[in-house]
Every structure is written in C-alpha cells, then in structure tokens.
C-alpha cells in the first residue's frame, strides 16, 4: 500500500487495517521548529475530520485532523522527548499516531503522491 495524502497535509500509510498518520514535509516546513506535540489517548475513536493532535511550533499551535475515521491504537510517545523529529523525519520517525481504520475506502479516496505533489503546486 502506498502512502496517501490529505489536503490538510497529513500523510497516511495503511499497514493491514492499521493506518500510520503524520504530517508531510511541506507541513513541517510551514510550521517551523516543533517544540511539543499533543497526541490523543489510545482507545479514542476519531471521526473523519476530528481533531487528532495538536502540534506546537515556537510560533503557534496548529491542529491536526484525522484524515479518516478510526480508533487510536498507538501514539508516537517518542515525540514527547524529541518533538523535533517531526521536522527532521516527518514521514518516518516523526509519525503521530496509528488508527484502526473503520473504512479503508476513505484512505483510497485521498490523494496519491503525484496528486499531492500537483496539489502543492497550486498553493
């Protein structure tokens, strides 16, 4: 399964029923130095578009919305000690949370890498 992208600059990668979610390189660059990430409680059910996390840069707090619906099964606790991983490895070690996806077709409906790249060029 390839990575999909939302218009809110999240990436989502399906591993079986579980989707790993984070913010894109473009998003981290726009935010600047990340100093704190507030992650949801494991076990919480998120509707599509619900607030999933809050990422704080030096300048401001920004919400991260769930790109698809699902139940939080794991969060990246390593971000507690090293929030800067969101800047250095946004699409890898800087992941935010894992969701047990309610409807995989919601993932399929998001942009693929080429479509996201084209979307960035319109911004």
């Amino acid at each position: 399964m390839t990575t999909r992208y939302s218009r809110d600059h999240e990436w989502i990668r399906l591993e079986g029923d579980i989707a790993v979610i984070g913010i894109t390189d473009y998003a981290q660059e726009q935010l600047g130095d990340v100093v704190y990430v507030e992650l949801p409680e494991v076990g919480r059910t998120l509707a599509k578009g619900a607030e999933a996390a809050v990422v704080e840069s030096v300048k401001a707090a920004s919400e991260v919305f769930a790109p698809v619906a699902g139940e939080v099964v794991e969060v990246n606790v390593a971000l507690g000690d090293e929030p800067a991983m969101v800047n250095t490895a946004p699409e890898d070690a800087g992941w935010f949370l894992k969701l047990k996806v309610a409807d995989k077709s919601e993932v399929e409906a998001l942009m693929d890498a080429d479509a996201y790249k084209a979307f960035l060029e319109t911004i």
């Binding site: 473009y26 726009q30 030096v58 707090a61």
Partner: protein
C-alpha cells in the same frame, strides 16, 4: 498552513535582501517582514545567544522632537511620559512610556539625547511600528507649539545583538571604544554615517544602528558577511525578548495597563514619583503607594505544552485570576514560558497557579523575570 503576503503592505529598504536570503515574509504592523530564514527560529535564537544576529527593525518609527533648547524639549516630553528627560545627559538613551490621561500605556519607546551639543533641543524617539500613526498624532496634539515632531521616514534601523556584536561592529567602526549600555553616539560604519546606541530587545549585549535608507543594504551585507553574524527574523525576536522578560506592545502592555501593573516602575523616574505632572499621575502614584490591583508576572509551566496569549490563568482551585499575554517555548530555557497579568495577591514569585490550555488546567509557577539573565554591557568600575 499557507501564508501569502497580501497587497498594500509596506516594505523596508531590506525587503530584497530578505527575499534573497530565503526569508519567509509575513504581514506585521502593516509591513512585509521576515518571520524566519531557512535555518529556523530556534537556530536563529541560539545564534543571537551564542554569537551575533542582525535584525531589520526599519519598520519601527524614528522621529525627532525639535525645540529651542534641551530643557524646553525635555519638559514637553515629560508632560507625556513619567521619565526624567531634563536630567538626560548628552549621548544617553532611556526607555519610556507614552501615557494616556488615565495612566494607560499608549506606547513604549526609546528616547535618545544626541551626543553633540549642537543638537541640544533635539530628542530622538523610536516607537513601535503598529503605533506610529497613533503616537505621532498624540505628540502633535499634546506637544506645545515650541516643540515640533519630525518623523524621519527616510531612515532605516538595524539591530546587531549578541555576545559577538561588539567585536563585529568594531571591525567597521574602528574608533568604537567601549560605549556603555544605553549610550548613543554618531559614527561612520565603513564610510557611511550612522547613529548608534548600545541597546536592544534580546537581553544580550548589542547595538542599534540608524542610517539613511539608501545605506541600509550595504551595512546589512557588510555585517552578514562577518562569520559571527546571521540574519534573525521576527520569530526569534519574539522568543528572545520573551526570555528577557521584555514587553511586546499590544500584547503585554496597552492602553488598559498602567506602568505599575505592567511592572515597569523602573520607567517612572524617582523625581517624578512625588512630583507627578505626567498623564495619569494620580492613578499611577496611588498604585505606587498602595500597590496595583493586578500585576504582570512571569510564568513557568511544569509540563512541556506551551501556553499562548489569551490562555486563562487560574488558582490551583480553578478560579480565574488573569490571562497570559505572551507565551511560548523558550529555546534557551528549554521549556515553555509565559507572561501575563494576575490578581496582585498571586503575584509573588513561587506562587503555584494553573494555566488553562485546550480545556485542561496545567500546573505552573509564578516566576521572576527575566527567564534568561540579561547580559548587557556594563563598564567595569575603575
């Protein structure tokens, strides 16, 4: 997350240089200004604390008050502010507050008496960009006919801040010597005329350089070519001044706050505490005597989540006692810090309080400021 700079914004003489350096430009006080360069806010912040950084502060308002002699101009300014300007020596600089009739702060500003006796009767002021129009109208309305306000719109202003600032500047100003903190003088930078002062807004040693707008880029490029110096945007300017405990107008002080509430008593000259004669004197003298109803304090948070402007400050029992006026992450402190106003009975450093962030009360402590010790240049006593 996209940021676009809207039409109609003013630019400083360094706008082209900022873009060339890869700055992200944002609207600020009617100007398109660099918020950060590609290295990012934390790297820029550390650059200033560890070495030296160059700030374009040309958006700020530079003006002069021109009267027939020093005493006349100084008394005219004293009628609007709580400072001692009659006693301000040549080549000295002072921080002051433009006050409204009810003692509120219209703006905070720097006032410089030029070093040359030929300039007696002139005082130079630097005001906040967002308050230029208000301040200038206020000066014109309240100054006596004998003292004229002359905006100097053809000037640029740069700040060179950090422990390496003096060494860097002396390469371009060979007769720099060791000027004291809050002194001002005229000099040439390479061969360009500048007004200089040893002051700043970071808590570090540093200088502010005022020059003709046309000379600003050459001076900025010469400073940026020095290995110790990097360009610094508004983002790091804010985190540096917050750690230094310095107020940002429109956030930590405004027309609803008095100098005593804002913990800026140092700006009320000793002579004038009894003498009065400044706008709002009755209220301010009463607050000096009996204490203000609320006070600006520093806050340190126990956890890692920053508290931003507007966050409610509460007792540990959950009663609302004030609000955060500036807050964020302090890169040098390595933790979230904030300032805000609390009921005076909670202003004692060490008082445990809470700050509400996204519906949760986060434990915090009232702290002394600055959060990072000031390192202003002080001349050693002979």
């Amino acid at each position: 997350m996209s940021q676009s700079v809207s039409e109609g914004l003013k630019e400083t003489p360094l706008a082209g240089l900022h873009r060339e350096l890869g700055a992200r430009m944002v609207p600020f006080a009617g100007y398109s200004m660099p918020v950060q360069y590609p290295t990012g806010i934390i790297a820029e912040h550390n650059q200033v604390r560890d070495s030296a950084g160059l700030f374009d502060v040309s958006h700020m308002g530079q003006a002069r008050l021109v009267g027939p002699d020093h005493e006349t101009t100084a008394r005219a300014l004293e009628a609007l502010t709580p400072g001692d300007f009659v006693g301000l020596g040549r080549g000295r600089e002072r921080y002051t507050l433009l006050l409204s009739e009810n003692g509120g702060i219209i703006d905070d500003l720097m006032v410089t008496r030029p070093a040359s006796p030929d300039d007696d009767g002139r005082l130079l002021v630097v005001v906040n960009a967002a308050r230029k129009d208000v301040d200038y109208a206020d000066f014109r309305a309240r100054l006596p006919a004998s003292v004229i306000l002359e905006p100097m719109d053809d000037r640029a202003l740069l700040a060179l801040q950090g422990p390496a600032a003096a060494a860097v500047l002396s390469r371009h100003v060979p007769d720099l010597g060791e000027p004291g903190f809050m002194t001002a003088w005229s000099a040439t930078f390479d061969d360009l005329a500048c007004g200089m002062s040893r002051s700043g807004y970071t808590g570090e040693d540093g200088f502010e350089l005022s020059m003709a707008a046309d000379d600003a880029e050459a001076i900025a490029r010469a400073l940026l070519a020095e290995p110790e110096v990097g360009p610094i945007g508004l983002g790091a300017r804010d985190s540096l001044r917050l750690e230094a405990g310095l107020c940002l107008y429109g956030h930590d002080i405004d027309t609803m706050t008095t100098p005593v509430e804002a913990d800026l008593e140092f700006a009320i000259a000793r002579r004038r505490r009894e003498e009065g004669g400044f706008p709002g004197a009755a209220r301010i003298q009463r607050e000096l005597q009996a204490g203000p109803p609320r006070k600006r304090v520093g806050l340190t948070l126990d956890g890692k989540a920053p508290a931003r402007e507007g966050a409610p400050i509460k007792t540990v029992e959950g009663r609302h006692i004030g609000d955060v006026t500036s807050g964020g992450f302090g890169p040098t402190v390595g933790a979230p810090i904030a300032m805000g106003y609390v009921d005076a009975s909670y202003a004692e450093p060490g008082t445990r309080i809470a700050v509400e962030v996204r519906g949760r009360d986060l434990p915090a402590t009232v702290s002394t400021m600055p959060f990072v010790p000031h390192r202003y240049f002080r001349k050693r006593k002979p």
